[in-house]
Symmetry: none
Subunit: 122 residues, 4 copies
């Protein structure tokens, strides 16, 4: 019934959704983001919350405002995002994950074999 995760603010989750959409090409460069009001109505969330999410995207140069028109994905956004997120993942997130796996006494090899199959299918 509720699509929101309580661990993170809604505006952060909205931001993450947009980022995921850009990464997988669903939102192409030059495309307009759905308007604040539209999203607000659809998800029954206060417009201010959407604004906040969108603002963080503008701050990160992933999206630009065209005044009176709306918000648009900037050219190069997908590529930049990809590079930046890959880097963050490899240098910051992955080592933590490996350490956690080690601490839990799990086998990377087993995880690999389980997930590789799924990876092939999807």
């Amino acid at each position: 019934m509720n699509q929101w995760n309580d661990d993170q603010p809604i505006y952060r989750q909205l931001r993450d959704r947009v980022i995921a959409s850009i990464l997988d090409g669903e939102l192409a460069e030059g495309d307009a983001l759905p308007s604040v009001r539209q999203v607000a109505a659809e998800f029954r969330v206060n417009p201010l919350t959407i604004s906040k999410a969108y603002q963080t995207l503008v701050d990160d140069d992933l999206v630009e405002k065209r005044r009176g028109l709306g918000m648009y994905v900037v050219p190069g956004a997908q590529e930049n995002l990809l590079r930046q997120e890959q880097d963050k993942f490899l240098t910051r997130e992955w080592p933590v994950i490996v350490e956690r796996i080690r601490l839990l006494g799990l086998s990377l090899k087993d995880l690999l074999s389980t997930s590789i199959n799924k990876e092939g299918r999807s």
Copy 2:
């Protein structure tokens, strides 16, 4: 300069450190946790914050309070933790990680094989 992560409350990070120590065997069952004062002084953190972290461990039956003596790791803590955390990891965390890797266009196989080598060494 600052050892704390802004994304998570300090008491949560303190808790996580203790849990890692228990999993690791660094803090064996029956061992005393460092006193609130000691940790407070070492990390320059409000003693109340340490207490809160310790309390969550008591609530999860990983640690017990012995009045006038301090906090002690309960028998079976390591084993219970291991089961519980493994389960959480496999059902909740790992699928998210796999999805993120896919979205970033990285190869799970490459990541794992690179790390498995390191795993052998450590």
Copy 3:
């Protein structure tokens, strides 16, 4: 890539350009302003925005509309503008500038003497 300043509405910036042209003598009294369509095409701006800019000039009696012909700079526009803008500058803008220079620890004397030399040349 974008000639517009995000701090100010586009129609205001358009207006300011015309005013600068009049002050400069580039647009003499009696001259026709470039047509709305022409400007709209050149700057890729909505014609309504140009109209709005021109309207503010009409409201300030700097420009007059001649139906079917276009907009024309009114006689005396340059002189009136000069008086009015000089007054605004001296009473409102210059004190703020002086204060800002003071706060930044810069020397008004140095700034002015450097620029006076350039002034002689231009």
Copy 4:
């Protein structure tokens, strides 16, 4: 009766005040900013508006949050601000001012002599 300028959002004006305070040493490095609630009560402004102002300062690394404690001016803030603002002034603002003065047919020299005296007195 109203201390706010309608040309700029309140949160921007609040931000500018704090910056001015840091620049002239009124708010020293390491000092706590007045709390959101306190400012909100004093100026009869919504706490959210203050928060927004403070957040921009955090984003610019001029101020740091200490959770549960408040906002503090970071070490080096004054010096960094000074360098950064001087640079902005000299490269971006001053040329515009000089051009405006030229366009208005005012004399830098006269402005100089008028203001230097005041500068000496204050």
